[in-house]
Amino acid sequence: MPEKNVAMALNDLLLQKKSDILDRWRDQVFASYAPETVRFLRSQKDRFANPIAYQLNRGLTGILEVFLEEAEAEQIMGHLDEVIRLKAIQEASPSRALAFLFLLKTIIREELAPQANDPAFAAELSELESRLDGLALLGFDVFMQRRERLHEVRVSEIKRKVGALLRRLGMGDEFFEEPSGEE
C-alpha cells in the first residue's frame, strides 16, 4: 500500500518539524504586538509576570499537538479557545483575531516546500490543506462563542448588580430562563 506509506511519511515529517513549526508560529503571533512589547513577550517566561505569552503559548502548543495527531474536533476546541479568548478581546476584528490560524497554514506550506511538487504527496497535501481550513473554520465558531460569552458576562453583571433586588421581587435566575417548550 504505497499511499499509506506516503501518508505516514508526511505526518512523520511534520511531527519531526513540530518544534520548528511551533517556534515560527509563536514568533509570528507574538510579532503582531507592539514592537516594544514583542521582546517582553518573548523573554519573560514567568507565567504570572507574562500572562499573555503564557496563554498564547499554551494554546498554540495544544492546537499544533492535537492537529498533528489528527484528533477529534472537540479536543481542539479547548486549545483554540485558549488563544481566541485572548484574541477576541485584544483584536479589533475577527479577521485580525483569527489571522494566526492562517499563519500556520503558510508556515506548514513552507516547511513542506520540498514535498509540494512531489505527485506522491499530492493527495495527502490536499487533505492536509483542507484540515487546516477546517481548523480555521472551527476558529470562527470559537471566536463567536467568545464574543457571545462577552455579551453574556455583560448581561449577567447587570443582573448581579441588582441581584438581591431581583430576588426581592421574586425574579431569581429562573425568571430569566427561557420557558421550555413543553409547558
Binding site: 514592537p35 516594544e36 512589547t37 514583542v38 521582546r39 517582553f40 517566561k45 514567568d46 507565567r47 504570572f48 509576570a49
Partner: protein
C-alpha cells in the same frame, strides 16, 4: 532620524562636544578658566540649584498621608508584625525613618523585583513546581553604581585636603586591596564604569526601555561614563602630575586658587565634565537623589487612623445634609417605618 536615535545621539554628541571644548580650551591656554572659574561656577550652580529645587518641593505641602503600605498595618496587638513588616508599613516616624534608610541605603523597592517561575519537569509535566527566584539585576547594577560612585567621590577628598584624613587613606587602601597592577587599581572606579555600561546597555537593548528613554536619560549616563573613563585613563595610562593636581585642588578648596603649570589636558577634560555634572545636576532627573527624601509614599508612617494628619489647604465642600433627604422622602420614610426628625 527616529525618536531613539535623536534622543541617544544628541547627548552623545553633546558629551563629545564638551570633551572637545575642554581640550581646545586648554590648548588655547585657558587653564585658569577651566581650572578655577568654571569649577567655582559649577559648585555655585550646584548648591544654589539644589537649594532652589528643595525649597520648591518643600513649598508644596503634603495634603494627605499616603504611604504605600507594603505590609500588615499595626492593628490588633496580637497580630504579629515582624521587623520587615514594620519597615514596609511603618507605624510611626521612627520606623518611617528606618524605611527611608533601607530605601536609600539598600534600594529596598528595587529589591522587590521577584519573579515566580514555573519550572516544568519534561518527564512528568504534572510535577511542575513553583520556583521563586529573583530578578535583581537592575537592583544589583544600580546598587553597584551608586556605592562605587560614592566611594570614588570620597576617595577624591585626598586631593582637596592637606593632610589627608586618616579614613580617606584607609578607604583608598581597602579599595585598592587587590593588587595586580601598578599603580594600585581601585576596584570601585572600574566597577562604576562597568555598572554604568550595564545600565546604558539595558536602556538601549530592552525595547520597552529604549522606547521610554529620553535624551535626559542618556546624557547623565554618558557624562558619568566619560568622567569615569577619563579618570581611569589619567590614573593608569596618561599619567598627570599628581602633585600639581593636588596643588590646584587644595587651592580651590582653601579659596586661594592657583593654576600650576604642566597638568595634562586630560585632567582638564575630566574636571570640566565633573563641573558640567555639578551644574547639570539640579536641573535633571539626578535630583532623584535628594528627591527620594521628600517622597510622600515612602517617608510617612501609615498611622492615619490614630495620628491626625493636617492638610493646610483643607476647605469646606458642598454636600447635601440629612434633612435634604428627609424633606424629599418624609412621607415614604414614615410609611416604611423609618424614624424621622420631623413628623411633618
Amino acid at each position: 532620524m527616529d525618536f531613539f536615535k535623536r534622543h541617544f545621539l544628541v547627548p552623545l554628541i553633546a558629551v563629545l562636544g564638551l570633551i572637545a571644548i575642554a581640550y581646545v580650551g586648554v590648548a588655547a591656554n585657558l587653564q585658569f578658566v577651566f581650572g578655577v572659574v568654571i569649577p567655582y561656577l559649577a559648585v555655585l550652580i550646584f548648591f544654589e540649584g539644589l537649594i532652589y529645587r528643595a525649597i520648591s518641593w518643600a513649598r508644596s505641602p503634603v495634603p494627605f498621608k499616603i504611604p504605600s503600605t507594603c505590609a500588615q498595618v499595626k492593628s490588633l496587638p496580637w497580630i504579629k508584625r515582624d521587623l520587615g513588616d514594620r519597615l514596609d508599613n511603618p507605624e510611626n516616624k521612627w520606623w518611617a525613618m528606618g524605611r527611608m534608610a533601607l530605601e536609600i541605603l539598600a534600594f529596598r523597592s528595587l529589591f522587590r523585583n521577584t519573579r515566580t517561575t514555573l519550572l516544568r519537569d519534561q518527564e512528568k509535566p504534572e510535577d511542575s513546581r513553583l520556583v521563586h527566584w529573583s530578578y535583581k539585576w537592575l537592583w544589583l547594577g544600580a546598587l553597584a553604581f551608586h556605592y562605587a560612585f560614592l566611594i570614588v567621590i570620597l576617595r577624591h577628598i585626598r586631593f582637596f585636603t592637606q593632610p589627608v584624613p586618616q579614613w580617606v587613606t584607609a578607604l583608598a587602601e581597602v579599595d585598592g586591596f587587590v593588587q595586580f597592577y601598578i599603580p594600585t587599581v581601585y576596584i570601585t572606579g572600574v566597577l562604576m564604569v562597568l555598572a554604568l555600561l550595564y545600565l546604558l546597555a539595558r536602556r538601549i537593548y530592552t525595547p520597552n526601555l529604549r522606547y521610554i528613554s529620553l535624551a535626559a536619560d542618556y546624557f547623565p549616563l554618558l557624562l558619568i561614563i566619560s568622567i569615569g573613563i577619563t579618570g581611569i585613563l589619567m590614573r593608569y595610562f596618561y599619567k598627570v602630575d599628581i602633585a600639581a593636581v593636588k596643588q590646584l585642588a587644595v587651592g580651590l578648596a582653601t579659596l586661594k586658587p592657583v593654576v600650576p603649570a604642566g597638568i595634562g589636558s586630560i585632567f582638564y577634560v575630566h574636571l570640566f565634565l565633573v563641573c558640567v555634572l555639578f551644574a547639570y545636576f539640579p536641573f535633571s532627573k539626578l535630583m532623584h537623589a535628594p528627591g527620594v527624601f521628600f517622597s510622600p509614599t515612602r517617608n510617612l508612617p501609615g498611622d492615619n487612623r490614630w495620628n491626625l494628619h493636617v492638610n493646610p489647604w483643607n476647605y469646606p465642600v458642598k454636600f447635601h445634609d440629612y434633612m435634604h433627604q428627609e424633606d424629599e422622602y418624609r412621607e415614604a420614610m414614615i410609611e416604611a417605618g423609618i424614624p424621622v426628625e420631623k413628623e411633618k
